[in-house]
Protein backbone atom coordinates (compact mmCIF):
# COMPACT_ATOMS: atom_id res chain seq x y z
CA UNK A 1 0.00 0.00 0.00
CA UNK A 2 2.72 2.45 0.94
CA UNK A 3 6.46 2.06 0.41
CA UNK A 4 8.21 4.47 2.74
CA UNK A 5 11.59 3.66 1.19
CA UNK A 6 10.69 5.76 -1.86
CA UNK A 7 10.69 8.99 0.13
CA UNK A 8 13.43 8.02 2.56
CA UNK A 9 15.89 7.03 -0.19
CA UNK A 10 15.32 10.22 -2.08
CA UNK A 11 15.58 12.39 1.02
CA UNK A 12 18.69 10.55 2.18
CA UNK A 13 17.02 9.29 5.35
CA UNK A 14 15.53 12.64 6.37
CA UNK A 15 12.46 11.24 8.14
CA UNK A 16 11.15 14.64 9.14
CA UNK A 17 10.93 15.92 5.57
CA UNK A 18 9.51 12.59 4.42
CA UNK A 19 6.77 12.88 7.02
CA UNK A 20 6.01 16.42 5.92
CA UNK A 21 5.65 15.38 2.28
CA UNK A 22 3.58 12.32 3.18
CA UNK A 23 1.40 14.64 5.26
CA UNK A 24 0.96 16.94 2.28
CA UNK A 25 -0.02 13.95 0.17
CA UNK A 26 -2.57 12.87 2.77
CA UNK A 27 -4.02 16.40 2.82
CA UNK A 28 -4.41 16.34 -0.96
CA UNK A 29 -5.51 12.79 -1.55
CA UNK A 30 -9.16 12.94 -0.30
CA UNK A 31 -9.85 15.92 -2.60
CA UNK A 32 -8.11 14.31 -5.55
CA UNK A 33 -10.02 11.07 -5.04
CA UNK A 34 -13.34 12.90 -4.66
CA UNK A 35 -12.81 14.82 -7.89
CA UNK A 36 -11.77 11.62 -9.62
CA UNK A 37 -14.96 9.86 -8.43
CA UNK A 38 -16.98 12.77 -9.81
CA UNK A 39 -15.20 12.46 -13.14
CA UNK A 40 -15.98 8.74 -13.31
CA UNK A 41 -19.61 9.38 -12.54
CA UNK A 42 -20.13 12.08 -15.10
CA UNK A 43 -18.24 10.02 -17.66
CA UNK A 44 -16.06 12.85 -18.99
CA UNK A 45 -13.01 10.96 -20.22
CA UNK A 46 -10.79 14.05 -20.60
CA UNK A 47 -11.49 15.11 -17.04
CA UNK A 48 -11.04 11.54 -15.85
CA UNK A 49 -7.69 11.31 -17.57
CA UNK A 50 -6.40 14.58 -16.10
CA UNK A 51 -7.52 13.82 -12.59
CA UNK A 52 -6.28 10.25 -12.69
CA UNK A 53 -2.93 11.49 -13.94
CA UNK A 54 -2.61 13.96 -11.09
CA UNK A 55 -3.35 11.29 -8.49
CA UNK A 56 -0.97 8.90 -10.24
CA UNK A 57 1.87 11.43 -10.18
CA UNK A 58 1.33 12.34 -6.55
CA UNK A 59 1.10 8.69 -5.50
CA UNK A 60 4.19 7.78 -7.51
CA UNK A 61 6.22 10.57 -5.93
CA UNK A 62 5.51 9.54 -2.36
CA UNK A 63 5.49 5.77 -2.84
CA UNK A 64 1.77 5.10 -2.47
CA UNK A 65 2.18 2.17 -4.81
CA UNK A 66 -1.30 0.60 -4.78
CA UNK A 67 -2.99 3.95 -5.28
CA UNK A 68 -0.58 4.73 -8.08
CA UNK A 69 -1.47 1.54 -9.97
CA UNK A 70 -5.16 2.13 -9.43
CA UNK A 71 -4.86 5.70 -10.79
CA UNK A 72 -2.68 4.54 -13.69
CA UNK A 73 -5.34 1.98 -14.57
CA UNK A 74 -8.04 4.67 -14.54
CA UNK A 75 -5.95 6.91 -16.75
CA UNK A 76 -5.45 4.11 -19.25
CA UNK A 77 -9.17 3.36 -19.37
CA UNK A 78 -9.93 7.02 -19.88
CA UNK A 79 -7.68 7.10 -22.93
CA UNK A 80 -9.48 4.16 -24.46
CA UNK A 81 -12.80 6.00 -24.32
CA UNK A 82 -16.22 5.89 -22.69
CA UNK A 83 -17.04 3.44 -19.94
CA UNK A 84 -20.00 1.13 -19.52
CA UNK A 85 -21.95 1.54 -16.31
CA UNK A 86 -20.62 -1.78 -15.09
CA UNK A 87 -17.05 -0.70 -15.70
CA UNK A 88 -17.79 2.54 -13.88
CA UNK A 89 -19.07 0.67 -10.85
CA UNK A 90 -16.00 -1.56 -10.82
CA UNK A 91 -13.59 1.38 -11.04
CA UNK A 92 -15.42 3.39 -8.40
CA UNK A 93 -15.30 0.44 -6.06
CA UNK A 94 -11.60 -0.17 -6.66
CA UNK A 95 -10.67 3.46 -6.12
CA UNK A 96 -12.70 3.67 -2.90
CA UNK A 97 -11.16 0.43 -1.75
CA UNK A 98 -7.62 1.75 -2.29
CA UNK A 99 -8.47 4.97 -0.55
CA UNK A 100 -9.87 3.08 2.41
CA UNK A 101 -6.79 0.85 2.59
CA UNK A 102 -4.56 3.90 2.67
CA UNK A 103 -6.65 5.58 5.34
CA UNK A 104 -6.69 2.39 7.42
CA UNK A 105 -2.91 2.33 7.27
CA UNK A 106 -2.74 5.95 8.34
CA UNK A 107 -5.02 5.25 11.28
CA UNK A 108 -3.05 2.22 12.33
CA UNK A 109 0.35 3.94 12.18
CA UNK A 110 -0.86 7.41 13.12
CA UNK A 111 0.39 8.76 9.77
CA UNK A 112 2.18 7.42 6.74
CA UNK A 113 5.67 7.79 8.15
Amino acid sequence: VFDEKVLLNLLEGDRESAAEIAGQYLDDVPGQVTRLLEAIECGDSTLLRERAHLLKGASASVGAEAMRYCAADLEKRAVVGSLSSQEKRGLLAELEHQFNLLMALVEEKGGLM
Binding site: V6, L7, N9, L10, L11, E12, D14, S17, E20, I21, A22, Q24, Y25, D27, D28, E50, H53, L54, K56, G57, A58, A60, S61, V62, G63, A72, V79
Partner: protein
Protein backbone atom coordinates in the same frame (compact mmCIF):
# COMPACT_ATOMS: atom_id res chain seq x y z
CA UNK B 1 22.40 27.35 -9.06
CA UNK B 2 18.79 28.49 -9.35
CA UNK B 3 16.37 25.74 -10.30
CA UNK B 4 12.68 25.93 -11.12
CA UNK B 5 10.32 23.15 -10.06
CA UNK B 6 6.96 23.21 -11.84
CA UNK B 7 4.34 20.62 -10.93
CA UNK B 8 0.61 20.94 -10.31
CA UNK B 9 0.79 18.29 -7.58
CA UNK B 10 1.70 19.85 -4.24
CA UNK B 11 3.31 16.75 -2.73
CA UNK B 12 5.59 16.17 -5.73
CA UNK B 13 6.53 19.83 -5.76
CA UNK B 14 7.32 19.81 -2.05
CA UNK B 15 9.38 16.64 -2.46
CA UNK B 16 11.47 18.09 -5.29
CA UNK B 17 11.93 21.31 -3.37
CA UNK B 18 13.27 19.45 -0.33
CA UNK B 19 15.55 17.20 -2.35
CA UNK B 20 16.96 19.91 -4.61
CA UNK B 21 17.53 22.21 -1.64
CA UNK B 22 19.48 19.41 0.07
CA UNK B 23 21.67 19.18 -3.04
CA UNK B 24 22.43 22.86 -2.92
CA UNK B 25 20.03 24.27 -5.50
CA UNK B 26 18.25 27.54 -4.98
CA UNK B 27 14.71 26.38 -5.70
CA UNK B 28 11.89 28.45 -7.22
CA UNK B 29 8.45 26.87 -7.48
CA UNK B 30 5.55 27.08 -9.88
CA UNK B 31 2.24 25.24 -9.68
CA UNK B 32 1.46 25.48 -13.38
CA UNK B 33 2.85 26.03 -16.85
CA UNK B 34 1.93 29.70 -17.14
CA UNK B 35 3.68 30.50 -13.88
CA UNK B 36 6.72 28.47 -14.98
CA UNK B 37 6.83 30.35 -18.28
CA UNK B 38 6.75 33.69 -16.46
CA UNK B 39 9.61 32.68 -14.18
CA UNK B 40 11.72 31.33 -17.04
CA UNK B 41 11.34 34.53 -19.02
CA UNK B 42 11.52 36.94 -16.06
CA UNK B 43 14.40 38.61 -14.27
CA UNK B 44 17.03 36.40 -12.69
CA UNK B 45 15.61 33.40 -14.55
CA UNK B 46 16.83 29.99 -13.30
CA UNK B 47 19.30 28.12 -15.48
CA UNK B 48 17.72 24.77 -14.73
CA UNK B 49 14.07 23.70 -14.67
CA UNK B 50 12.21 20.51 -13.80
CA UNK B 51 8.79 20.62 -15.49
CA UNK B 52 5.93 18.22 -15.04
CA UNK B 53 4.79 16.90 -18.39
CA UNK B 54 1.08 17.18 -17.68
CA UNK B 55 -0.14 20.41 -16.14
CA UNK B 56 -3.43 22.21 -16.68
CA UNK B 57 -3.47 25.23 -19.03
CA UNK B 58 0.12 25.01 -20.21
CA UNK B 59 1.89 21.66 -20.00
CA UNK B 60 5.62 21.04 -19.69
CA UNK B 61 6.07 20.19 -23.36
CA UNK B 62 4.45 23.46 -24.40
CA UNK B 63 6.69 25.41 -22.00
CA UNK B 64 9.70 23.71 -23.66
CA UNK B 65 8.38 24.61 -27.09
CA UNK B 66 7.89 28.26 -26.15
CA UNK B 67 11.29 28.59 -24.48
CA UNK B 68 12.93 27.05 -27.52
CA UNK B 69 11.07 29.41 -29.85
CA UNK B 70 12.59 32.35 -27.96
CA UNK B 71 16.05 31.28 -29.17
CA UNK B 72 17.71 32.72 -26.03
CA UNK B 73 21.46 33.19 -25.82
CA UNK B 74 21.55 31.23 -22.58
CA UNK B 75 18.52 28.96 -22.60
CA UNK B 76 17.58 27.14 -19.39
CA UNK B 77 18.27 23.41 -19.17
CA UNK B 78 14.79 21.86 -19.19
CA UNK B 79 14.04 18.47 -17.66
CA UNK B 80 10.58 16.97 -18.20
CA UNK B 81 8.87 14.82 -15.57
CA UNK B 82 6.89 11.79 -16.62
CA UNK B 83 5.51 8.85 -14.72
CA UNK B 84 7.06 5.49 -15.28
CA UNK B 85 5.00 3.52 -17.76
CA UNK B 86 3.46 6.57 -19.39
CA UNK B 87 2.87 6.17 -23.07
CA UNK B 88 4.04 9.70 -23.83
CA UNK B 89 6.64 9.79 -26.50
CA UNK B 90 9.92 10.90 -24.96
CA UNK B 91 11.05 12.01 -28.42
CA UNK B 92 8.16 14.51 -28.53
CA UNK B 93 9.41 16.15 -25.35
CA UNK B 94 13.01 16.27 -26.49
CA UNK B 95 12.05 17.65 -29.90
CA UNK B 96 9.92 20.30 -28.21
CA UNK B 97 13.07 21.61 -26.55
CA UNK B 98 13.56 19.59 -23.38
CA UNK B 99 17.16 18.57 -22.71
CA UNK B 100 16.31 15.49 -20.68
CA UNK B 101 13.54 13.72 -18.76
CA UNK B 102 13.12 11.91 -15.46
CA UNK B 103 10.44 9.55 -14.27
CA UNK B 104 8.30 9.37 -11.14
CA UNK B 105 8.87 7.81 -8.68
CA UNK B 106 12.30 9.40 -8.65
CA UNK B 107 15.43 7.39 -8.24
CA UNK B 108 17.83 9.21 -5.93
CA UNK B 109 21.06 8.64 -7.85
CA UNK B 110 19.54 9.12 -11.24
CA UNK B 111 17.78 12.39 -10.41
CA UNK B 112 20.91 13.74 -8.82
CA UNK B 113 23.09 12.79 -11.78
CA UNK B 114 20.67 14.21 -14.36
CA UNK B 115 20.52 17.50 -12.49
CA UNK B 116 24.32 17.57 -12.38
CA UNK B 117 24.44 17.23 -16.16
CA UNK B 118 22.11 20.21 -16.39
CA UNK B 119 24.25 22.20 -14.05
CA UNK B 120 27.36 21.39 -16.05
CA UNK B 121 25.60 22.46 -19.22
CA UNK B 122 24.50 25.75 -17.69
CA UNK B 123 28.04 26.44 -16.48
CA UNK B 124 29.57 25.67 -19.87
CA UNK B 125 27.08 27.94 -21.52
CA UNK B 126 27.85 30.73 -19.09
CA UNK B 127 31.60 30.35 -19.73
CA UNK B 128 30.97 30.45 -23.45
CA UNK B 129 28.96 33.65 -23.12
CA UNK B 130 31.61 35.22 -20.87
CA UNK B 131 34.29 34.39 -23.42
CA UNK B 132 32.18 35.78 -26.23
CA UNK B 133 31.58 38.99 -24.30
CA UNK B 134 35.28 39.32 -23.48
CA UNK B 135 36.32 38.75 -27.10
CA UNK B 136 33.82 41.33 -28.27
CA UNK B 137 35.13 43.79 -25.71
CA UNK B 138 38.71 43.14 -26.83
CA UNK B 139 37.76 43.55 -30.47
CA UNK B 140 36.43 47.03 -29.72
CA UNK B 141 38.97 48.29 -27.18
CA UNK B 142 42.37 49.86 -27.67
CA UNK B 143 44.62 47.70 -25.47
CA UNK B 144 46.98 50.53 -24.53
CA UNK B 145 44.54 53.24 -23.51
CA UNK B 146 41.47 51.09 -22.78
CA UNK B 147 39.23 53.45 -24.74
CA UNK B 148 37.41 52.52 -27.94
CA UNK B 149 39.58 51.49 -30.86
CA UNK B 150 39.16 52.77 -34.39
CA UNK B 151 36.50 50.24 -35.30
CA UNK B 152 34.44 50.93 -32.19
CA UNK B 153 34.55 54.73 -32.33
CA UNK B 154 33.66 54.76 -36.04
CA UNK B 155 30.75 52.44 -35.26
CA UNK B 156 29.65 54.82 -32.55
CA UNK B 157 29.95 57.79 -34.90
CA UNK B 158 27.77 55.93 -37.42
CA UNK B 159 25.14 55.29 -34.74
CA UNK B 160 25.15 58.89 -33.58
CA UNK B 161 24.95 60.18 -37.15
CA UNK B 162 21.86 58.04 -37.67
CA UNK B 163 20.34 59.09 -34.35
CA UNK B 164 20.97 62.84 -34.49
CA UNK B 165 18.56 63.73 -37.34
CA UNK B 166 15.93 61.39 -35.89
CA UNK B 167 16.03 63.28 -32.62
CA UNK B 168 16.57 66.65 -34.26
CA UNK B 169 19.75 67.20 -32.28
CA UNK B 170 23.13 68.46 -33.49
CA UNK B 171 26.28 66.36 -33.54
CA UNK B 172 29.88 67.44 -33.51
CA UNK B 173 33.19 65.66 -33.77
CA UNK B 174 36.81 66.48 -33.12
CA UNK B 175 39.96 64.89 -34.47
CA UNK B 176 42.81 65.27 -32.00
CA UNK B 177 46.49 64.75 -32.69
CA UNK B 178 49.31 64.96 -30.16
CA UNK B 179 51.83 67.61 -31.20
CA UNK B 180 55.43 66.53 -31.89
CA UNK B 181 54.68 63.00 -30.71
CA UNK B 182 57.59 61.64 -32.72
CA UNK B 183 60.07 63.66 -30.66
CA UNK B 184 58.49 62.36 -27.42
CA UNK B 185 59.12 58.86 -28.70
CA UNK B 186 62.65 59.74 -29.77
CA UNK B 187 63.49 61.26 -26.42
CA UNK B 188 61.75 58.89 -24.01
CA UNK B 189 61.43 55.72 -26.03
CA UNK B 190 58.26 53.78 -26.73
CA UNK B 191 57.46 53.32 -23.05
CA UNK B 192 57.54 57.10 -22.64
CA UNK B 193 55.39 57.53 -25.73
CA UNK B 194 52.86 55.03 -24.43
CA UNK B 195 52.73 56.85 -21.13
CA UNK B 196 52.03 60.14 -22.90
CA UNK B 197 49.23 58.53 -24.91
CA UNK B 198 47.65 57.19 -21.72
CA UNK B 199 48.04 60.52 -19.95
CA UNK B 200 46.43 62.45 -22.80
CA UNK B 201 43.50 60.05 -22.70
CA UNK B 202 43.15 60.48 -18.91
CA UNK B 203 43.02 64.25 -19.30
CA UNK B 204 40.72 64.18 -22.30
CA UNK B 205 38.22 62.00 -20.45
CA UNK B 206 38.12 64.59 -17.67
CA UNK B 207 37.21 67.33 -20.14
CA UNK B 208 34.45 65.35 -21.83
CA UNK B 209 30.89 64.68 -20.71
CA UNK B 210 29.79 61.14 -19.89
CA UNK B 211 27.86 60.79 -23.14
CA UNK B 212 30.73 61.96 -25.33
CA UNK B 213 32.84 59.20 -26.85
CA UNK B 214 36.59 59.10 -27.26
CA UNK B 215 38.42 56.58 -29.40
CA UNK B 216 41.92 56.04 -30.70
CA UNK B 217 41.88 56.02 -34.49
CA UNK B 218 45.60 55.96 -35.17
CA UNK B 219 49.04 56.10 -33.54
CA UNK B 220 48.64 59.44 -31.77
CA UNK B 221 45.29 60.40 -33.27
CA UNK B 222 41.97 60.36 -31.49
CA UNK B 223 38.33 60.94 -32.45
CA UNK B 224 35.85 62.67 -30.16
CA UNK B 225 32.14 62.20 -30.84
CA UNK B 226 29.85 64.72 -29.13
CA UNK B 227 26.15 64.00 -29.52
CA UNK B 228 23.83 66.94 -28.88
CA UNK B 229 26.63 69.46 -29.32
CA UNK B 230 26.15 72.11 -32.00
CA UNK B 231 28.21 74.96 -33.46
CA UNK B 232 27.84 77.07 -30.32
CA UNK B 233 29.40 74.56 -27.95
CA UNK B 234 31.64 72.32 -30.03
CA UNK B 235 34.63 74.64 -29.90
CA UNK B 236 34.06 75.38 -26.22
CA UNK B 237 34.28 71.68 -25.36
CA UNK B 238 37.27 71.08 -27.64
CA UNK B 239 39.03 74.15 -26.26
CA UNK B 240 38.54 72.84 -22.74
CA UNK B 241 40.11 69.60 -23.87
CA UNK B 242 43.09 71.32 -25.51
CA UNK B 243 43.73 73.42 -22.41
CA UNK B 244 43.47 70.63 -19.89
CA UNK B 245 46.22 68.73 -21.73
CA UNK B 246 48.45 71.78 -21.91
CA UNK B 247 48.14 72.89 -18.29
CA UNK B 248 48.69 69.48 -16.70
CA UNK B 249 52.29 68.40 -17.22
CA UNK B 250 53.07 64.69 -17.33
CA UNK B 251 55.78 62.99 -15.28
CA UNK B 252 57.51 61.03 -18.02
CA UNK B 253 60.27 58.94 -16.51
CA UNK B 254 60.77 61.41 -13.67
CA UNK B 255 60.74 64.46 -15.90
CA UNK B 256 57.91 66.94 -16.17
CA UNK B 257 56.87 67.14 -19.77
CA UNK B 258 54.27 69.50 -21.20
CA UNK B 259 52.42 67.99 -24.10
CA UNK B 260 50.07 69.88 -26.40
CA UNK B 261 47.43 68.74 -28.83
CA UNK B 262 45.92 70.10 -32.01
CA UNK B 263 42.26 69.53 -32.71
CA UNK B 264 40.16 69.86 -35.83
CA UNK B 265 36.47 70.14 -35.12
CA UNK B 266 33.43 69.78 -37.36
CA UNK B 267 29.69 70.08 -36.84
CA UNK B 268 27.69 67.50 -38.76
CA UNK B 269 25.63 68.91 -41.61
CA UNK B 270 24.03 65.64 -42.60
CA UNK B 271 26.83 64.64 -44.96
CA UNK B 272 28.38 61.17 -45.15
CA UNK B 273 30.65 59.95 -42.40
CA UNK B 274 33.67 60.13 -44.71
CA UNK B 275 32.89 63.74 -45.61
CA UNK B 276 32.43 64.75 -41.98
CA UNK B 277 35.71 63.11 -40.98
CA UNK B 278 37.38 64.70 -43.96
CA UNK B 279 36.29 68.19 -42.91
CA UNK B 280 37.55 67.61 -39.38
CA UNK B 281 40.85 66.30 -40.78
CA UNK B 282 41.20 69.42 -42.94
CA UNK B 283 40.62 71.58 -39.87
CA UNK B 284 43.23 69.60 -37.95
CA UNK B 285 45.66 70.11 -40.80
CA UNK B 286 45.11 73.87 -40.57
CA UNK B 287 45.60 73.76 -36.79
CA UNK B 288 48.93 72.02 -37.33
CA UNK B 289 49.85 74.53 -40.02
CA UNK B 290 48.97 77.48 -37.81
CA UNK B 291 51.43 76.61 -35.08
CA UNK B 292 49.81 73.68 -33.23
CA UNK B 293 48.25 73.71 -29.69
CA UNK B 294 45.12 74.96 -31.41
CA UNK B 295 41.48 74.13 -32.00
CA UNK B 296 40.32 74.88 -35.53
CA UNK B 297 36.70 74.42 -36.51
CA UNK B 298 35.87 73.39 -40.06
CA UNK B 299 33.92 76.10 -41.86
CA UNK B 300 30.18 75.53 -41.93
CA UNK B 301 28.31 75.40 -45.20
CA UNK B 302 26.83 78.88 -44.82
CA UNK B 303 30.27 80.39 -44.29
CA UNK B 304 31.78 78.93 -47.43
CA UNK B 305 35.19 77.32 -47.59
CA UNK B 306 37.02 80.33 -46.19
CA UNK B 307 37.93 81.95 -43.97
CA UNK B 308 39.00 79.39 -41.40
CA UNK B 309 37.55 80.10 -37.99
CA UNK B 310 40.34 80.02 -35.48
CA UNK B 311 39.56 79.80 -31.82
CA UNK B 312 43.05 79.90 -30.49
CA UNK B 313 43.64 82.00 -27.45
CA UNK B 314 47.02 82.95 -28.85
CA UNK B 315 47.34 86.48 -30.08
CA UNK B 316 48.27 86.67 -33.71
CA UNK B 317 50.62 89.51 -34.31
CA UNK B 318 49.58 91.46 -37.35
CA UNK B 319 52.21 92.05 -39.97
CA UNK B 320 55.47 90.97 -38.38
CA UNK B 321 58.66 90.87 -40.34
Amino acid sequence: VRALVADDDTASRLLLQKVLTKWGYDVVMASGGEEAWKILTGDNAPGLAVLDWMMPELDGVEVCRRVRALDMSSPPYLILLTSRGDKQDIATGLEAGAADYVQKPFDHDELRARLLVGRRFAELNRKLLDTQRELRRQALTDPLTHIMNRRAILMRLGEEMARAPRQGLPLSIGVLDIDHFKSVNDEYGHAGGDFVLQSVVDRALKALRPYDALGRIGGEEFLIVMPGVGPRDAEIVLERLRKIVRVTPMAVQGQEVTVTVSIGGAVSEGESMDDLLHRADDALYRAKGSGRDLVVMAPRDAEGADPVVETSTKATSPGGD
